[in-house]
Structure formats: structure tokens, C-alpha cells
């Protein structure tokens, strides 16, 4: 390999242990990693939908069929589940964007008594993630009259410590002079946030949105506890109930099709915007 070409490689990877023994191994591992999803794809269009010796085969069938999807679509109210999940995810995100922008600005730009203590109070939520508090949170949701509502599923996530810290860091990196100029022109705090900070922080907002949407699209235990009526179930809760039903019938092709319906939107977005997703998750750390 000519020297110049070699220099282009990050030194961390050049003639390192893992690449030498590992690249072949990693390719085998990648295939292994893809097996569950490959099976899902193949089995979802398999004509034979019940458990038999060939159900596990990863070799696609000659004559694929959409019958499993039709059966899944009829067995569970997927359009309703989609709608509920979209409402939950969008509702959480909309309120979060508001709360994290305001709090992020306060921590980034303002001096006030108790700032450090308040910062630690926020930090607490990074650890005491709402899911650990499902039992008392459920009591609270019931107390404020939100039991068995989509708003009840959303409520614990309206404040986001992670989002607040992300915005605090982003806002702090924006030159203060921009704001000072606007202040001289008589712009109020909210106007300065809206017209100076928000437009310059769009990449951070997008990163936050990716992480928030993914986390809440995939959440299960909390909505399972809050939601009682079948017509208010989000996708994950609907899928679990659906899987239980179809498992009894051993209809594995239908389960594969139903699972595909649930995971498809995020996976498609990921395949389209790979870099954006990956960068967002690197900044996330904690959901």
C-alpha cells in the first residue's frame, strides 16, 4: 500500500489487532446479526404460515405471498395502533421541544441563584428514568385524571433532562454578540430565543428528535400500564397482544408480518438517513 494512501487511514485502525484477525470475523458476525430480521422478511411472505419443518428456513420461497400481511392486518387494528403511536410520539416531542428550549436557554445564558442545585435536580432524571417509577407514576397519572388516555402515556416525558443539557450546550456555543445586538434593538427574551437561538440550533433539535421519537416509538411497559382500552394501544402494546394471540395459533408467518409492520417505519427512515441517525445516537448517550 503506498504511503500516502496509508496515511489517510486513521491510525487507530492501521495494522491494529482487531482488523487483522477480525475483519473476516466481523463479516460473519454481521450476517449472524442480520439473521432474525432476514427471517422476518422471508417468513412474512412465506405461503405456509404455520409452524412446520420449513418455517425456519432462511431461503426465500419461490412464490411469495402477501396473505400473512392481510391476516395480520385483519387480526389486529394496526391502523389504529399506528395512529396512537404517532400521536404519542408527536405529542411528546412537541412539548419536549418547548420545555428543553426554554430550560436550555436559562441554563446556558442566565445567571440566577440556585443554578447549580437546579442543574443537579435535572440531572436526577437522567438516572431515575421514568420507567423505574412506573408504579408511583401510574398513581400520579390516575390522580390527575389521565389514566387510560394517550396524554397519560406522554406526560412523564414532557420534561427531558437529556434534551435540556443538549440545548444548554448548543446554546452556550452560539456567540453572545448576536443576542446583544438583538437586545439593543429591543427584542424580548422569547423573541431572541425564537429568532436567534432556535434557527442556529436546528441540527441539535433534529438529533434530539431522532432519539426521542425512536425511544417512544419503541416503548412498551409504561403504555402497557397506562392504557386499558384496546383502541388506545400503541404499536408495541398492540404487537405484544397480537403476538400472544397468534402464538397460540402457531401462526409464525403472521407474527413475522405483524412484527415487520411495527418495525418498518423506523428502519426505513434509518436506511434513508443513516448518517443522521447514527450521529444523533452518538450525541444521545441517554435517551
Amino acid at each position: 500500500m503506498p504511503l500516502r494512501r496509508r496515511r489517510a487511514l486513521p491510525l487507530a485502525t492501521r495494522r491494529e489487532v482487531a482488523p487483522r484477525i477480525g475483519l473476516g470475523l466481523v463479516q460473519v458476525a454481521a450476517l449472524l446479526w442480520l439473521v432474525p430480521m432476514a427471517w422476518m422478511l422471508v417468513a412474512s411472505v412465506r405461503p405456509q404460515s404455520f409452524a412446520g419443518p420449513g418455517m425456519a428456513s432462511l431461503i426465500p420461497d419461490v412464490a411469495p405471498t402477501l396473505r400473512n400481511f392481510m391476516e395480520a392486518w385483519e387480526a389486529a387494528d394496526f391502523p389504529r395502533y399506528y395512529l396512537n403511536t404517532v400521536i404519542i410520539v408527536a405529542g411528546i416531542l412537541a412539548v419536549q421541544l418547548l420545555t428543553i428550549t426554554l430550560a436550555g436557554y436559562a441554563f446556558a445564558r442566565l445567571a440566577f441563584p440556585g443554578k447549580r442545585s437546579l442543574f443537579y435536580l435535572f440531572l436526577l432524571q437522567l438516572m431515575l428514568v421514568p420507567v423505574v417509577l412506573i408504579v408511583p407514576n401510574l398513581t400520579m397519572v390516575a390522580r390527575v385524571g389521565l389514566y387510560d388516555t394517550l396524554a397519560g402515556v406522554m406526560a412523564p416525558y414532557f420534561a427531558s433532562a437529556f434534551g435540556t443539557f443538549l440545548m444548554r450546550q448548543t446554546f452556550a456555543a452560539i456567540p453572545r454578540e448576536l443576542e446583544d445586538a438583538a437586545q439593543v434593538d429591543g427584542a424580548s427574551v422569547l423573541q431572541r430565543i425564537r429568532h436567534i437561538y432556535v434557527p442556529l440550533a436546528l441540527p441539535a433539535f433534529l438529533a434530539f428528535a431522532v432519539v426521542s421519537v425512536t425511544a417512544h416509538w419503541n416503548e412498551f411497559l409504561w403504555p402497557l400500564m397506562v392504557i386499558n382500552s384496546p383502541d388506545k394501544r400503541p404499536l408495541t402494546v398492540g404487537l405484544a397482544a397480537f403476538t400472544r394471540g397468534q402464538e397460540g395459533a402457531q401462526a409464525w408467518g403472521v407474527i413475522a408480518a405483524g412484527t415487520l409492520l411495527v418495525v418498518a417505519p423506523l428502519l426505513l427512515l434509518f436506511l434513508l438517513f443513516q448518517r443522521r441517525f447514527i450521529n444523533s445516537f452518538v450525541t444521545s448517550g441517554i435517551k
Binding site: 432524571q125 438516572m127 408504579v135
Partner: protein
């Protein structure tokens, strides 16, 4: 400020007056901006903390009766509950058995795929995809993978094993099957952090090692790994959080069974609250989870502050 007081009292007084005049309305403004977040945190983090602590020392004497103070009776009850003790032990095995292998795999993947090119990006995507699917969806797929006789594992591996185990039905095996799913799901996530961490290793360190004639193992051991220590700490914290907070797959695959062999702490809490309506025991169980999290927090506060640029 002390300096200016020595320099001249009048200047200092004027300065203080100016600052307080400006600071008072500013402070109120700051609290107003924090209010929406604080309201959310108060309702769904701080108040529930108090509530769960209160619940854990109260108990209903009769069904439907008012809860009365019970001291540590709820804690005695969970400690006497074999299912709880089993859940704690399982959670410890689950933590050790998922965190260590997942971190090792993630680090290996990051080292192998650190160089960004078309092939490596595809491989990274393959490992990252499980991160994006719901844990329940992953569990639905693994339900078939672990199915006796006709499932994926038995179909492809069964022919090499004289007696393939009942992956989810055998109490000695089920927890390890669940751990396999967890490793599959999280390795790609942790890989991302190691990839980012590798970018931060300065080239000079490697140059020096080359000049000294260090072997690749020596470079890994003495340069790469030390530089990755902060990343490793951070990923360990996230992994610890995950083993305490994620039990969706247990719900779908085994419901904690067979005979509590896959029960984990949070699932036990869920069972007590939703299936047994025993809020006291659920609350006591929650406090055990919380104290684990508090311990993790105390140990890792420095790591978190670094990650979020915590100097205020």
C-alpha cells in the same frame, strides 16, 4: 469582587447596586423559563419519589381498607418472597452476563470498523439495526428463533446437538437465552460510542508506539484502551441503566418463568403492582431498584458531568 472592594468601596457599591438591579428581574425570568420543565419533573419524578417512599412503609390491613403505617413490613415481605430473591439474583447474573460480553463485542466491532468506507458503513448499519426496533418486536422474532424443534435455532443448530435444550422452557437455560437477545440488541448501540471514542485517540500516540516498535497487542493494551477509558465508563453506565430498566422482552418471551428463572427486578415490581395489586411490595421493590440506580449515579456522576459538560 474582593479585589474591587479593596480598590475602592464606592466603586464596589455601585457595582453591586447595578448587578442586583439587573439580576433580580433576570432571575425571575430564568425561573419562568425553567418552570415548564420543573413542573413536569415535579409531577413525574420528584413527587413519585416521595410517593413510592411513602408507599413502601404503608400497608393495607384489610382489602379496600385505608393503608396504615407498616414500618419495614413490606421490605420484610419482599425479602421473604422467594420470587423477589430470585429476581435479584437473576438481575445480577443478567447484568454481568450481558454487560461484559456486549462491551467486549462492541469494542471489537468498533476497532474493526473504525475506518469509514462503504463496506464498513454497511457492516455498522447491520449491527445498528437491532437498536432501532422495539424490544417487544425483537422478542416476537426471538419467540420463533427459540421455538423447540421447528424454530430457527433448532432448525439450523439442532442437527449438531444430540439434545438441543428447550431454550425458553428450561429453567436452567431460559435466562441465558434472554441474555442472548439483549446482547444482540445492544452491541450496535455501544459500538457507536466506541467508534466516537476512537476518533479522539491522538495520532501522535500511535506514531510514538510505531517508532518504539510496539506490537499491535501492546498498542491496543497501552494506547487504545487507556484512551477509551472515559468511553468505557460512559457505556458501562448506560448498560447498567439498561439492565435495570428494560424488561419488555421478559414480558413477551417468558413472563418471568419458568418458575421465576427469568424474573428480573423491574418485572417483579410490575407483577406486584399489576397482577397482585400489592402496592406496598411494588413500592419496596422499586426502592431497591432506585437504590441501585442511586449507587450507579454516585459512582458515575463525574462521567455524566463530563459527557454533558456539567460545569455550570
Amino acid at each position: 469582587m474582593a479585589d474591587s472592594a479593596i480598590d475602592g468601596g464606592r466603586v464596589w457599591h455601585a457595582e453591586v447596586a447595578r448587578r442586583t438591579r439587573r439580576r433580580a428581574p433576570r432571575a425571575i425570568g430564568a425561573y419562568a423559563l425553567l418552570l415548564p420543565s420543573l413542573a413536569g419533573l415535579a409531577l413525574f419524578t420528584y413527587a413519585p419519589l416521595v410517593q413510592v417512599a411513602w408507599d413502601s412503609v404503608h400497608m393495607r390491613r384489610a382489602p379496600g381498607g385505608a393503608p396504615g403505617f407498616a414500618g419495614l413490613a413490606n421490605y420484610d415481605a419482599i425479602l421473604a418472597d422467594a420470587a423477589f430473591r430470585k429476581a435479584v439474583v437473576n438481575n445480577l447474573i443478567y447484568a454481568a452476563g450481558t454487560i461484559v460480553p456486549t462491551l467486549v463485542i462492541a469494542l471489537g466491532l468498533a476497532l474493526a470498523l473504525a475506518h469509514s468506507d462503504r463496506v464498513n458503513n454497511l457492516l455498522r448499519a447491520a449491527f445498528f439495526m437491532p437498536v432501532l426496533i422495539p424490544l417487544v418486536a425483537a422478542a416476537s422474532l426471538f419467540l420463533f428463533i427459540f421455538l423447540p424443534n421447528v424454530g430457527l435455532l433448532d432448525f439450523y443448530l439442532g442437527r449438531y446437538l444430540a439434545h438441543p435444550p428447550n431454550w425458553l422452557g428450561d429453567p436452567d437455560v431460559a435466562l441465558y437465552s434472554i441474555m442472548a437477545l439483549t446482547i444482540w440488541k445492544n452491541a450496535g448501540y455501544y459500538m457507536l460510542f466506541f467508534l466516537a471514542g476512537l476518533q479522539a485517540v491522538p495520532d501522535e500516540a500511535y506514531e510514538a508506539a510505531y517508532l518504539e516498535g510496539a506490537t499491535s497487542w501492546q498498542r491496543l493494551w497501552h494506547i487504545t484502551l487507556p484512551y477509551l477509558m472515559p468511553t468505557t465508563g460512559f457505556v458501562t453506565v448506560i448498560a447498567l441503566l439498561n439492565v435495570v430498566t428494560q424488561v419488555d422482552h421478559v414480558f413477551v418471551l417468558t413472563k418471568g418463568g419458568p418458575s421465576d428463572s427469568t424474573n428480573l427486578l423491574l418485572f417483579y415490581v410490575y407483577q406486584q403492582a399489576v397482577e397482585s395489586y400489592d402496592i406496598g411490595k411494588a413500592a419496596a421493590g422499586t426502592l431497591v431498584s432506585l437504590s441501585v440506580l442511586a449507587a450507579v449515579t454516585a459512582i458515575s456522576l463525574g462521567t455524566l458531568e463530563r459527557a454533558f459538560g456539567g460545569r455550570t
